[in-house]
């Protein structure tokens, strides 16, 4: 584990000032994801137009890693077609965070992937 990767400037910046943070009024879809191990939770709000993520926001409580990954992920998926969401991998999220799977101890990988699990649900939902 490397603290400098785990808590580098960009991650702390997103933790302090998360992008797309807040409740969305009139969202088309709301997905809540809980990490039962620690009780952390994140709720994603989506506005969907012609198969695309027109807008996205999230709120939740969690550690710097989970908030930063939610913030970064929300920026990336805006205006993306829903079909693309289920293709996002854990590796994608880690590289967004400037990390790889060795940067985090296993317990903290769950924090990094909490939002990904929420976002993947919408992709799967649409596929069904």
């Amino acid at each position: 584990m490397n603290l400098d990767t785990l808590y580098r400037e960009e991650i702390l910046e997103h933790w302090q000032n998360p992008q797309n943070f807040g409740k969305m009024r009139g969202a088309d879809l709301v997905i809540e994801q809980v990490n039962p191990l620690c009780g952390d939770q994140v709720t994603f709000f989506f506005k969907i137009e012609s198969g695309k993520i027109k807008d996205v926001s999230f709120e939740g409580s969690g550690c710097a890693i989970s908030i930063a990954s939610a913030s970064m992920l929300s920026g990336v998926i805006k205006n993306k077609p829903i079909a693309a969401l289920s293709k996002i991998t854990g590796k994608n999220v880690l590289s967004l965070m400037g990390a790889d799977k060795n940067s985090f101890p296993p317990a903290r990988l769950k924090c990094a992937f909490l939002s990904l699990e929420a976002v993947r649900k919408i992709g799967q939902m649409q596929a069904d």
Partner: protein, 447 residues
């Protein structure tokens, strides 16, 4: 003496992330002294056989060891009748045994079950589930600012319809030590037919407990938090109650006679010990008890009170840190000359939960882990209490006999490091940049 104690615990010489291990997660599980590890090896190399089964020498030896463990463990908590000491897997299983065997048969529609908001999930979910299944009412008593059960609310909650009252002896989050004797008396006075259960998982490892003097009906605790192996816990119950209760699990060892038309049950305590028990773990727990007795439970408690007092004094000097649970007044922290009973620490076990500003407990724990320091973070299996306190998670340190003031100093230095990593970011307010949203600032920035 401390050096000698530390040498008894082989794991304490480990390095974690290149630093000497500082193990401050004892409320989750304790480390094991060599005496316990040796006993496990001794049992398996000299006496291993199935207990209560054979007439051969080894089986008799294994049985003798297992039953001796029951006697020694019972003695340790003031119980003379070994029939009342039932070996189970852990405290959770002990509570489930009560809920299934006594609860399912004695709790009826509209009966009341009383617990507190500060219970570990193991002493909460079982009763919530029982209430749901049998149509009973679950009443949850609040705790006061010290984490002690609010006596007024407690009295108000218990009525003539109350059939079961269950509460913690020591809180796994706040470290609060309940006056379990007084609470048991109150519960029995207000509802004589109610059974009173005490969850002693965090008490027995750390202080002298005399179950006979508490006046409760059931008391549960677990071995792995008191230097013993995992997989062994104890349910104590009053004989007259246990005798009326049906078995919880069915199978071998718990029967007296089996025929095609029916089966009769074995005597106490074996009626409740179906299948091959973890005899090695029971014998390991006996070694743990003997080790603790050699040190003396008063010494154990004294050592932990001192460490806790020292840690609280240091922690409260850091402005970013918020501590939960009973606190001594500042004047008491500084007056070294006062007697221990006046430190304001007598109602707190060696458990301190806290948060560092808006920094999540997981981040605190990760940074400390990089320093070799093991602490707990999260909801501590006590989500109702977390909600009650208005927090989502907390960091927690918990001490045992092998911890030292030097380790507390390392922990405090770790907290300073956490603050230094996050410090440049602690001064600004979270300002969501999505202006059309109604913002709900779930995170409080107070620094």
């Amino acid at each position: 003496m401390m050096d000698k104690i530390r040498q008894d615990f082989p794991i304490l010489s480990r390095k974690i992330n290149g630093k000497p291990l500082v193990y401050l997660d004892n409320a989750a599980t304790s480390q094991k002294p060599k005496a316990v590890l040796d006993m496990l090896v001794h049992y398996y190399t000299k006496h291993n056989a199935n207990v209560h089964r054979g007439v051969h020498t080894l089986s008799q030896e294994a049985t003798e060891e297992y039953e001796l463990a029951r006697k020694v463990v019972g003695n340790f908590v003031g119980v003379k009748d070994t029939g009342e000491i039932i070996f189970v897997k852990n405290a959770t299983e002990a509570l489930n045994l009560i809920a299934y065997s006594w609860g399912r048969n004695n709790i009826s529609k509209n009966d009341e079950i009383v617990v507190t908001v500060a219970e570990h999930h193991s002493n909460f979910v079982v009763w919530q589930q029982l209430a749901r299944e049998n149509g009973a009412v679950l009443k949850v008593v609040p705790v006061d600012e010290n984490g002690e059960v609010d006596p007024v609310a407690f009295k108000k909650a218990i009525t003539s319809r109350t059939k079961l009252v269950s509460f913690f002896h020591v809180s796994n989050v706040l470290g609060t030590v309940n006056d379990v004797r007084r609470l048991s008396t109150i519960a029995h006075r207000l509802s004589p037919k109610a059974v009173v259960i005490v969850d002693g998982a965090q008490a027995v490892p750390h202080m002298k407990v005399d179950i006979a003097k508490i006046g409760c009906d059931f008391y549960v605790f677990t071995g792995h938090k008191m230097l013993g192996p995992t997989g062994i816990g104890v349910l104590w119950g009053r004989r007259e109650l246990l005798e009326k209760m049906p078995p919880f699990l069915f199978g071998g060892d718990m029967i007296s006679k089996v025929s095609l038309s029916g089966t009769s049950w074995n005597e106490l305590p074996w009626k409740f010990e179906a299948g091959t028990p973890d005899a090695a773990a029971a014998v390991g727990l006996m070694a743990a008890v003997e080790y603790l007795e050699k040190i003396g439970m008063d010494k154990v408690r004294e050592h932990e009170v001192e460490l806790t007092r020292y840690a609280i004094k240091k922690l409260s000097a850091i402005p970013e840190v918020e501590i939960y649970g009973p606190l001594p007044r500042h004047s008491e922290l500084d007056s070294e000359s006062r007697s221990r009973n006046e430190f304001g620490m007598t109602n707190r076990a060696g458990v301190i939960s806290f948060n560092v500003g808006p920094i999540h407990a997981h981040d605190v724990a990760s940074i400390l882990d990089a320093e070799g320091i093991a602490i707990r973070s999260g909801h501590h299996c006590a989500q109702p209490l977390m909600n009650f306190l208005g927090i989502e998670s907390a960091a927690r340190v918990s001490f045992y006999i092998y911890n030292t003031k030097e380790e507390v100093d390392k922990f405090i230095a770790g907290i300073e490091k956490v603050i230094s990593i996050f410090k440049p970011k602690l001064t600004r307010i979270v300002s969501p940049n999505v202006s059309e949203y109604s913002h709900n600032n779930g995170r409080r920035i107070r620094i």
